[in-house]
């Protein structure tokens, strides 16, 4: 390949990357602003405009089937585009949430620049078709996340961010070693190519299993799945609420997006002699168990939500374990609903935390005095439990339907276990999800001042609640969009 051709490829590829270029532009503008004194209204408008523009340009090119960019190291297709839109929406909601925060550090230009960097990293992560790209974009997410986790600059936040950093660096070092072994086995970094899959199917050695496990460690860290979850509770408890809400959605979705690709490839599209479907099922069972049972003992609400988000990852992993194209579509449905219901809870959580309510006992009696925040929280928690009439139920129904179908096709008993076990876990999750409404509505409590959401919080939670309820009664609205998403490497 001569230089002329190479430059041509770069030029052509760049024309596909408008959303990412817009985000990068936003980051640079923000960094420039941060050099001057605080002008928070401009900062916020720069962030929201760049996210909105990026989302719009994603939506515009949505019809695009597949484009291989930069000689194949990243690939644009509808699957990654969908996840990117979801990540953008999540970050937009986070930005609006920071408006109600009383911590001034949450409104600084650097904060938003870091936020946008994570979104950008997420974009590239879900598009990656190359181990190097996976590593770089994952590190962009991780390193910015470490900083964000400690951004509140309190004692707890810095402790959380230190633990996050140490755990995350070890996880990524382990993952990197796995990547290097995979490179050794296949001789290429482009994991969607025939050469890579051929290498995996032909190379008959347990080193593949070791390499796969090591690489998996990094992915599982990113999505917060067992056994790579122990960072989550400390980070969640320490960091400020908008950051927690953001970390529980955007990096997680990006990680899930790349995990699907990786599992598909490492199992050589099901031809590998190692049963990666069973391994993911075991991971899902483990994640569900750890998340739900640890959450039972928690009294701090943010800590509880950490375990809850671990458990929710378990449900997303069920979608991956189901392994069918439909399983992945249903997983996208669940991921969408997860974004909505998670943010509902966190918006209320921020509201309560500003009134010094963060332990379950503190919620006693809030049901009547802080009526709308409590009700919005109740709806969010019911949706997370997966009870009708919320889309959380529909999402679980879909995900487990695809799992049943997968069991039917493969006749693997582990899938049946996952099916029964996953659904029974819902009952366990009820114990802790219900604890908050239980205290809020059934207990008489200390005096809190009467209060209500401010305008932004009202608007956000209303929209999200409508989404969560609306998608239950008319899931077709979203599914017909997701149906147009096809999953090709």
């Amino acid at each position: 390949m001569n230089l002329q051709e190479a430059l041509h490829i770069i030029e052509k590829s760049l024309s596909y990357l408008y959303p990412e270029l817009i985000l990068t532009g936003g980051i640079l503008v923000l960094i420039t602003i941060s050099l001057f004194k605080r002008i928070s209204s401009i900062v916020f408008s720069v962030v929201s405009i760049s996210i909105c523009l990026a989302t719009i340009s994603l939506l515009v090119e949505e019809g695009l089937l597949r484009a291989s960019l930069f000689s194949g190291i990243i690939v644009k297709e509808s699957f990654s585009t969908y996840l990117k839109i979801l990540a953008n929406i999540g970050s937009l909601v986070t930005c609006v949430m920071t408006l109600s925060s009383n911590n001034q550090r949450m409104k600084s230009a650097e904060f938003y620049a870091l936020l946008l960097t994570i979104v950008l990293g997420g974009h590239f992560l879900v598009m990656s078709n190359n181990l190097l790209m996976v590593f770089i974009s994952m590190e962009i997410i991780s390193i910015s996340s470490y900083v964000l986790a400690g951004h509140a600059n309190t004692k707890e936040a810095s402790e959380g961010s230190l633990k996050y950093f140490l755990f995350g660096s070890v996880a990524s070092a382990i993952m990197l070693y796995g990547f290097s072994l995979l490179y050794g086995v296949t001789g290429t970094l482009d994991f969607a190519t025939e050469g890579f899959v051929k290498g995996i199917t032909e190379y008959n050695s347990p080193i593949l299993l070791i390499a796969g496990f090591m690489a998996l460690a990094g992915f599982l860290f990113k999505v917060g799945a067992a056994p790579m979850h122990p960072w989550a509770p400390d980070v969640y408890q320490g960091a400020s609420v908008p950051v927690v809400a953001f970390l529980s959605v955007v990096p997680k979705l990006a990680g899930i997006g790349i995990l699907i690709k990786f599992i598909l490839v490492i199992s050589a599209y099901g031809q590998s002699k190692y049963d990666w479907q069973a391994i993911i099922s075991v991971v899902a069972i483990l994640t569900l168990t750890v998340g739900n049972f640890s959450a039972l003992a928690q009294r701090n609400l943010k800590r509880m939500m950490a375990y809850s988000s671990i458990a929710q990852t378990g449900f997303l992993l069920v979608g991956i374990a189901a392994y069918l194209p439909e399983g992945i579509q249903f997983m996208l449905f669940y991921a969408t609903v997860y974004v909505a219901m998670n943010f509902i809870v966190f918006i209320s959580l921020q509201f309560f935390e500003q009134r010094n309510i963060w332990n379950t006992e503190h919620f006693a009696g809030t049901g009547r005095l802080l009526l709308w925040p409590s009700i919005s929280m109740l709806i969010g928690l019911i949706a997370l439990t997966g009870l009708p009439p919320t889309a959380g139920f529909t999402g679980k129904l879909f995900i487990f339907s695809s799992l049943w179908e997968a069991y039917h096709l493969s006749e693997k008993n582990i899938l049946l276990w996952l099916f029964v076990f996953g659904l029974l876990n819902t009952v366990v999750s009820l114990f802790y999800y219900l604890k908050i409404p239980y205290y809020a509505f059934l207990k008489e409590g200390q005096s809190v001042e009467k209060g209500n959401f401010n305008l932004w919080e009202n608007l956000l939670s209303l929209i999200l609640v409508l989404v969560v309820l609306g998608l239950f009664f008319a899931p077709g609205l979203l599914m017909c969009w997701i149906n147009s998403v096809n999953f090709v490497l």
Partner: protein
């Protein structure tokens, strides 16, 4: 055994010993110096493996940058806490067990990869210039992203250490 092999084995030995040194000593500063030795001998190994550009980067960035930053960090922390540089050990047994398990597993299966593939071939091209071209063509996207990563790491470090007004 050729002199080439002797040099290679020598550097491998230095790297291993200094790595174990980090584990063995209880003084942070000494550990940092061991890390420096280890990284430098690895750079030498890279040269022997015909990865000159990586070797140079290793010396400039790792040895010159990372280790210096680490030593700087050590000094700052000792100044902040006013305590000696001693490091305590914990989880000694599980740690060593895990490390041994990993080492034996990796050595066993990874050495199978070494024997199953042909011996290392040699290349005689001008590697540094080729690396440069590659970096600006095939790897331009990761390259730019790495730039962004460095920028954000800088800002992140600045934000993290900046003291709050309160």
């Amino acid at each position: 055994m050729s002199s080439y092999s002797i040099i290679l084995y020598g550097f491998i030995l230095i790297a291993l010993i200094s790595a174990i040194g980090i584990l063995a000593v209880n003084n942070v500063f000494k550990a940092a110096l061991f890390l420096l030795t280890c990284l430098l001998s690895l750079a030498a190994i890279y040269v022997l493996c015909l990865a000159e550009f990586v070797a140079v980067t290793q010396i400039l960035v790792y040895a010159g940058g990372v280790v210096v930053v680490i030593i700087f960090g050590i000094m700052l922390t000792t100044k902040l806490t006013g305590k000696p540089l001693e490091v305590k050990n914990g989880n000694l047994f599980p740690g060593l067990l895990a490390a041994l398990a990993f080492a034996s597993m990796l050595v066993k299966y990874q050495s199978m990869m070494a024997t199953s593939t042909a011996e290392l071939s040699t290349m005689s091209e001008n590697l540094v210039s080729k690396t440069g071209v590659e970096l600006m063509t095939n790897y331009v996207l990761p390259f730019e992203l790495a730039g962004l990563l460095l920028l954000m790491a800088l800002i992140g470090a600045a934000v993290t250490t900046r003291s709050t007004p309160e």
